[in-house]
């Protein structure tokens, strides 16, 4: 019975062509010069913004001029190594992003197109996590530098005058750990929201197609 209904619909489907809108040559000609607002374009712009943002963050100089004495050389070299490594990895990420982005083709099958968009997205996501890790690492390095080579007298005095020096240190460490987790969570939430809105439909459709192949 259902088959018949779908066949009925099929017959009517051909007939409905008469009721469809008809655009003129000029209408269509005008359209080809309009700007696309596809999600691929959105992803591209957001990704570029992310690359620029994190490169700018990397370029902010770490203030190590105050450090003098025996450790200064070591600190400078380790910062230098950190920056060069970060830079090389960022270039690698940008290259990979560009490669993936170039492969996105609207003439692929629906599944391949979705897969490629998700892959491109994942590259940028990995880039962001890498930068977050780097950011946390830099914070730790800076903190250690300050504490070891240039300790603020006030804080040190408070810690040593505390009832238990160990607990005071642990509290300080805990404070920084909580701060890092808090900012990480905030960022994670931001990404969930941003890409949740942008890619919800795509992810659902991709899951549906993938499910078929299992």
């Amino acid at each position: 019975m259902m088959m018949d209904e779908l066949e009925l619909l099929k017959k009517d489907w051909q007939k409905q062509e008469e009721t469809l809108p008809k655009l003129s040559y000029d209408d269509i000609y005008k359209m080809i010069w309009k700007k696309s607002s596809s999600i691929v374009k959105w992803i591209f712009y957001i990704s570029i913004a992310e690359f620029v943002f994190w490169i700018a963050m990397t370029l902010i100089p770490i203030n190590s001029e105050d450090i003098t004495g025996s450790g200064a050389q070591f600190v400078k070299i380790s910062e230098w190594v950190l920056e060069i490594t970060a830079f090389i990895i960022i270039i690698y990420f940008i290259y990979q992003f560009y490669q993936n982005y170039q492969k996105i083709s609207v003439t692929d099958s629906a599944r391949d197109l979705m897969k490629k968009i998700i892959k491109t997205r994942k590259t940028v996501m990995r880039y962001v996590w890498f930068n977050l890790g780097l950011f946390a690492l830099t914070m730790v390095v800076v903190l250690l530098e300050v504490l070891i080579f240039n300790p603020p007298t006030e804080v040190m005095e408070k810690i040593s005058s505390a009832d238990s020096t160990l607990i005071a240190w642990l509290l300080l460490g805990l404070f920084f750990a909580v701060a890092i987790v808090f900012f990480g969570l905030l960022l994670w939430l931001f990404y969930r929201l941003l890409y949740g809105i942008l890619l919800k439909r795509l992810n659902e459709n991709h899951r549906e197609l993938k499910k078929l192949e299992v």
Partner: protein
Amino acid sequence: MNKELEHKFVSELESNQNIVHKVCSLYTNDRDSHNDLFQEITIQLWKAYPKFRGDAKFSTWMYRVALNTAITLYRKSKKRIRTQDYDSVIFKIKADEYDDTQERQLKLMYNAVKQLGDIDKALVFLYLEDKDYSEIAETLGISEVNARVKMNRIKNKLRTILNP
């Protein structure tokens, strides 16, 4: 891009525009979003056109680009999704006033198809366009067997929508 290419593309799209309109009417629910999607599909077709080799039929190539744009690239706004619910409510009331004629059945069928998910719609669309399972499978990127299985599931789904 040279003038000759522009002219060739626009003429071919003009004479094949029905395909795009049909995709638009399946995936949108009001005139504004219909035009919006039509424009996005046109842009995507034009961007991909220089790579179109002509070893496939222009229309076959169009199906793929149009569906990919409707399913994956086009962003629906919240407002448009609400319009859909609104439309189907009206549709149901109206349809109830009809006799049990073919026309009523057809309206119900169109309404049921519109309620399907993006992928299901694409399968039904290609089926209605008289495409065989190998082309349906290739367009969606699944195997032919799975395309058949999926189509049977959609028929069941339509049945439940029509006879709740």
